[in-house]
Symmetry: D2
Subunit: 302 residues, 4 copies
Amino acid sequence: MCRFIAYIGPPILASDLLYAPKFSLITAQTMNAAEMSVTVNGDGFGIGWYNPSLDNEPCVFRSIKPAWSDQNLRNLARKVHSPCVFAHVRAASPGITVEEVNSHPFACGELMFMHNGVLGGFKQLRRKMLRLMNDTAYDAIQGSTDSEHMFGLFLNHIEDPYGTVTCEELVYAIGKMFDDLNVLLIENDIRQHSYLNIAVTNGTCMVAVRYTTNPNVQPASLYYMHGKEYHCRGESCVMEPAYGKPSSIVLASEPFTSRRSDWMKVERNSMMIVDETMRISFKHVEMDLEKIDFESITPEIG
Amino acid sequence: MCRFIAYIGPPILASDLLYAPKFSLITAQTMNAAEMSVTVNGDGFGIGWYNPSLDNEPCVFRSIKPAWSDQNLRNLARKVHSPCVFAHVRAASPGITVEEVNSHPFACGELMFMHNGVLGGFKQLRRKMLRLMNDTAYDAIQGSTDSEHMFGLFLNHIEDPYGTVTCEELVYAIGKMFDDLNVLLIENDIRQHSYLNIAVTNGTCMVAVRYTTNPNVQPASLYYMHGKEYHCRGESCVMEPAYGKPSSIVLASEPFTSRRSDWMKVERNSMMIVDETMRISFKHVEMDLEKIDFESITPEIG
Amino acid sequence: MCRFIAYIGPPILASDLLYAPKFSLITAQTMNAAEMSVTVNGDGFGIGWYNPSLDNEPCVFRSIKPAWSDQNLRNLARKVHSPCVFAHVRAASPGITVEEVNSHPFACGELMFMHNGVLGGFKQLRRKMLRLMNDTAYDAIQGSTDSEHMFGLFLNHIEDPYGTVTCEELVYAIGKMFDDLNVLLIENDIRQHSYLNIAVTNGTCMVAVRYTTNPNVQPASLYYMHGKEYHCRGESCVMEPAYGKPSSIVLASEPFTSRRSDWMKVERNSMMIVDETMRISFKHVEMDLEKIDFESITPEIG
Amino acid sequence: MCRFIAYIGPPILASDLLYAPKFSLITAQTMNAAEMSVTVNGDGFGIGWYNPSLDNEPCVFRSIKPAWSDQNLRNLARKVHSPCVFAHVRAASPGITVEEVNSHPFACGELMFMHNGVLGGFKQLRRKMLRLMNDTAYDAIQGSTDSEHMFGLFLNHIEDPYGTVTCEELVYAIGKMFDDLNVLLIENDIRQHSYLNIAVTNGTCMVAVRYTTNPNVQPASLYYMHGKEYHCRGESCVMEPAYGKPSSIVLASEPFTSRRSDWMKVERNSMMIVDETMRISFKHVEMDLEKIDFESITPEIG
């Protein structure tokens, strides 16, 4: 479920990411997401950003309201000027309540995490996931979403979640989180498929995953564009091309600018890593799920 | 904008109206309204009902949350057992805030009122509408919607809005409200079209209107069904036919039961009157708008 | 923390309990609780009631808003006419979020539960409490309060929480819940004191506890009055005396009617049982806490 | 009603104003305002600030929740670093709803406005106030508070509320607003007293008023401190003295730092003007109310 955007690069105004583009996250994707079967993302939203001139911890603003009508988000987006922004609009999974603590991104120390999709069998897995966690990871969980519980598994593999966390540690912990999920899915014989699009950042680098356990369908969509600089003139937002290494990267569940050629797909079941120097690399993500006899019915994912 | 349902007949459980049917107001029409260009109705909701064994004033519960995720609405709907129920899901017009006082139905004394559509030129008309009202009507307005301001004009023609109001008075006041709007549209040369689907009740009778100023398009949809009794078995909800006068009437922006043949359209630009004896009659609603040179662009209505 | 009211007897209007009395829960105790060190109870509220003509499950309406300004509560209270009503205004413990799922009363099947006070050492105990629970009890917990986790321990001792639960079972499960807490406090060497005023009902009988682990202070206040009938004339609300067995009982954190002589204290560390025939009895509640070296500082309780 | 704080000076962290001090606006004054008869300010809050490196318009974040439990406010306050901050906690006047649009500060163009107190006879005056306004001032009003309607009267005397507004214009418009109120009170023979503590800013200068029509009591409290720099070390917040003209000024309904000698009272019925150069001056505010036969009962003000 859900839609998200992540940005890293020179400081930009959040409204250029979230409101200015014609097919923007807030004004279009909340109501008419193009590439999802669930097209309404009205179950709360969140935005998180860094202000490195002050400190290294993100500022997170989350709400249970639909993003499209929230005046506070609109006001803040016009004043948030940041080199690293995460934004998320939620379509709650059935049975999981719409509460402020259930809105993404989730934060802990200097880290932010968000998810789009669904973890198959979460109801059966929840207690087992919690049992795996040390007290620090456990205490960081405030809500009841599958997403935040995966964040807990991720934090469980970070040595000091409240300290400085390197890019390598992010990559490592995401990998271990997938390993944990793999074991849990097998041990509990979870037959529903999972859709796990994820983004995590420490404010200076970013790791994203596009993944599904289902070999018969594509994972939820995930795109990126990179270049020298992202900027808007009215509704016309473009990524200026960079010659050599990019200095600006946008990741999004759906392309939101009109020049579609700017956007590239994150490949199926792969992890995209943007390091502190803005170097982009990819890694394959794999689970060993042969032993599971998945339900043939494809779940409708948001 | 918006979608609504009105019921009058033998006491029923609100959840049979709002949740049980497959294409129900809360679970389907909030996210996928079929007959509107704006398909998401997530800007708050409201429900109002009467409990005649206690008194004649409606009980109204309104919220700014999307109806689909509201646990309180779900709980209440299972316990509200009433002979007269109004329910409304809102898609806010651009520029009008999502606030509890802006959710429908609006209530005053023993009356309830709700609206689906848009009053053309409301921004210019608002002050003029307020100037027409006596203090009682003026003071009854708490919010900032075009809908509630029309309710104010309506109340202005009710002799004692906090006393007992007859069915005839409802019909009369709705007529006068349309006359007032007609004068306002002409005097202020409002060139945008209006879409005015309205329902009003005193708990024992009901008046509804399906209207647009635009001769080139249909008004927003409005349907009704009548019979002996409306009831559900699982998702299968039907209106039992009545031989002779009906004892049960459902009015809805969109049919929500599977037997489509149960549903009839309220005709274009007409008023439907259900009196205390459940007799149904219709009246033509007309404005004299020849002098207005309407914009040719059809506004997108919700 | 918090204040609550419970009623059982002939059907009454909730507003006579909650709004009519001069020193009422909603209008006075939310802002000026008289017998607590924390005098503001503005962190959400809840009301639950039964409508036996429909079914045996309570209807619960909960919110994160302060009760004093909530128009929906005001509207509902004037229309809820019920033989069994629970109402609660919350003062959140530090560190526990104000979310709808954290408002009392908590419901499961035909049961409702509410708490006023604090469980010492909850942060350390939480995981251990969850581990004691079977899946049914575990899944019934939606929020993050000490109160709801105690409800989970309680449900853990009910054979079928979604079936019919007798008064004896309520008494038994409350006793076992105290036993569990006793063991947990000792095993984890929790040195902070607990304040555990609790009320639970199945709609026809009611069990309440007034308890603290602290021998040096009184538990949070808890009063009751009983008689033939509770009724209000304007602000003047009285309990008509009954000759013989009462047919009407009100339990409250604080007396809220002016005739103070109507009110009796529930004794320190005792359980009050009101059975289906309205017979009132009391039982001593005891924990064996000798091994714990409690902090001498008395926590400030709400 | 209500409590507020205004700051102008070198950029500071909002949390140093709102959370750090022992008797802070958010953690203490919301629940235990010391100098008011209404001690709970739980009916919403707002914060507004300027970020001159971006533009001259304030960013406003408002909510209907009690400030004390709002996690978004807590997060934002740690990241807002600004040379001009307004913050307000509300205790709603009876009969005026708690809605986001009713939370202070109110903003228009580059201006912010907030109010603590009550305008006597607002219910009778409302329509007359609205009639005085030009369309720009009228359209700027979104809610239903006496406070925002006074803001409308104020804007009515600003030539271009959406352009650059000088300090002189602020002083002028506040003066004219008081003249308008004077005429309205007399013409409508309003016999209830008014309590009008007000602060307005354009981001570089600030005008505040402490006023009551009641000769028998003091106006609601209003204090200020000035110096070189305001800063906190833990809970210990102080204003460093300035030799010569101050560069930093804090205005507050109640002193919130422990060194009480830092704080001075704004005199009864006077206007405090802090110009762009941080020069402080005072002006007497006077209404001619001899013709009104005020009620002798002193209203309880918040």
